[in-house]
């Protein structure tokens, strides 16, 4: 009962936040709604006893969102006057693709009950998580960091002023 109640409340917050990310016509408001949505996700992790994931979610995603915000304000001129226009032409296609993604996720979870369950119990334990990431899956983990490194090098290469000589 408590589990259901908590889940429903947190879901309401997340859904409301996510909806407002799309609906709000002020760029900075959008960012704050996004932050609320991500915090809600962290709350969901806490609710499922995955406290480590929740803390990491807050630490990493808040940093990410703040960076996003800084870039948004620095790169966009006169942000306060920019009103985001929400197109209506793509409504049908948007709903269709959203439903398709939702369906795929539901299908994956329902079909693969066992894996979903196993992963969930493993994630609750910080030690198990550490062993999984840094021993059992250390190669994919390192490959992932290589991907991030490539992205960073690319960003620096793009941002650097080209020397005329």
């Amino acid at each position: 009962m408590m589990l259901w109640l908590g889940f429903s409340l947190i879901s309401l917050v997340i859904l409301n936040g996510a909806l407002n990310v799309v609906k709000s016509d002020d760029l900075v408001h959008t960012v704050f709604w996004l932050a609320l949505t991500l915090l809600g996700t962290a709350a969901l992790f806490v609710h499922l006893d995955a406290e480590f994931l929740a803390a990491v979610q807050v630490l990493l995603y808040t940093g990410g969102v703040v960076t996003l915000m800084l870039f948004g304000v620095m790169l966009t001129r006169r942000v306060s006057e920019v009103r985001i226009v929400h197109g209506t032409a793509n409504k049908v296609r948007a709903i269709a693709s959203a439903l398709a993604v939702f369906g795929a996720i539901v299908l994956a979870v329902v079909r693969d009950k066992q894996t979903a369950h196993a992963v969930a119990t493993d994630l609750a334990d910080t030690e198990a998580l550490g062993i999984m990431v840094f021993q059992d899956m250390v190669l994919p983990f390192e490959l992932l960091s290589l991907l991030l490194l490539a992205a960073m090098v690319g960003a620096i290469a793009l941002a650097r002023k080209v020397d005329p000589s």
Binding site: H29, E51, A54, A55, L59, T62, V66, M69, L70
Partner: protein, 325 residues
């Protein structure tokens, strides 16, 4: 319903600790003004009450009576939401800090991560206030603050990793217990310990926007940064949050590196925690009245070119130490 119930325990403990922290924070402002006064060869507050002891109360009353002004072009909702949110973020980190054996609101097994996450969340209300004020000084202050926070967060996390590795736990109670009997992490791995402590302390100061890292509110350049447009108690809440944040930093640094409530011999107890953390707290004031602030670019250079590599080296040295011993 007994005290063992986590809800009751958390509520009662939370109320007590939050109020104690708020009173200490209020009086720390009196202490700072006295301290700064003595350093500059003047008496400091001395008119209201004996030794000026009633000054914080008088200040609070004055702030409550002031007119509440919201600029016409401000984003009203965000402008009003920001001040209480800063206090919320600063205060919630207190929940996972053990003040004495068993004196803790919630003994989370990821305690230290929670405290750091809450500290990093402070950047949101600061940015919110800077943006909602809709003036250049507030916005510049907020941008500086955001850039500073997300940069210093990385060496801060790295330096906090050192006691985590040494104690083999994220739970702050476990970290303190591992140091009982004088094996303080600031002293024990000789070298890396004290360096990690210094790094943690300095990066925390930067996160709390304290001098010498207070460029987000540099008075000589930005009027008063994020809180420029705020009046009365809303401005007071920003000040409160800053001092509260500083106090909680002293508490966390004491538990991570100075053995928490560990005293000489078998004399462990809250009193030692109080002595150590309040000494650190006073040290922060000492730094504030002794040093100038850095320039914005110097601040970033120190973080990325010195603190970050130092943090990485310290983590590796500590891991090596634990592996070999």
């Amino acid at each position: 319903m007994s005290f063992d119930n986590p809800w009751i325990h958390g509520l009662v403990m939370g109320l007590i600790l939050a109020n104690v922290a708020l009173v200490i924070t209020g009086y720390s402002i009196w202490f700072e003004r006295k301290f700064a006064g003595r350093m500059q060869n003047r008496p400091g507050p001395s008119v209201v009450g004996p030794w000026g002891l009633l000054q914080p109360l008088a200040d609070a009353l004055k702030l409550l009576q002031k007119e509440d002004i919201v600029p016409r072009s401000a984003d009203r909702a965000l402008f009003n939401l920001a001040p209480p949110l800063t206090v919320f973020c600063a205060l919630s980190a207190l929940a996972v800090v053990p003040v004495g054996p068993g004196v803790i609101v919630a003994d989370l097994h990821i305690g230290i991560l929670f405290a750091l996450a809450m500290g990093s969340l402070t950047v949101f209300p600061v940015w919110m206030a800077g943006w909602a004020s809709n003036t250049k000084y507030a916005l510049l202050g907020a941008m500086r603050s955001a850039a500073q926070s997300i940069s210093y967060e990385i060496p801060l996390l790295l330096s906090a990793t050192v006691p985590i590795i040494l104690a083999d736990s994220f739970r702050i109670t476990d970290i303190v217990n591992a140091q009982l009997g004088g094996k303080w992490f600031a002293l024990w791995p000789p070298g890396p310990g004290i360096a990690a402590f210094a790094l943690f302390f300095l990066c925390s100061l930067a996160e709390a926007n304290r001098i010498p890292f207070d460029i987000p509110e540099a008075e000589s350049e930005l009027v008063s940064g994020v809180s420029t447009e705020y009046t009365g108690m809303k401005w007071g809440l920003f000040q409160l949050a800053e001092y509260l944040h500083t106090f909680i930093i002293s508490l966390v640094a004491t538990t991570l590196f100075l053995g928490g409530w560990d005293g000489p011999g078998d004399n462990d107890g809250i009193i030692w925690m109080a002595i150590k953390s309040l000494t650190l707290f006073a040290g922060i004031f000492w730094i504030r009245w002794s040093f100038m602030r850095y320039r914005a670019d110097q601040l970033m250079a120190i973080c990325w070119k010195f603190f970050l590599p130092l943090g990485l080296v310290l983590v590796m040295l500590t891991a090596l130490w634990v592996h070999l011993i």
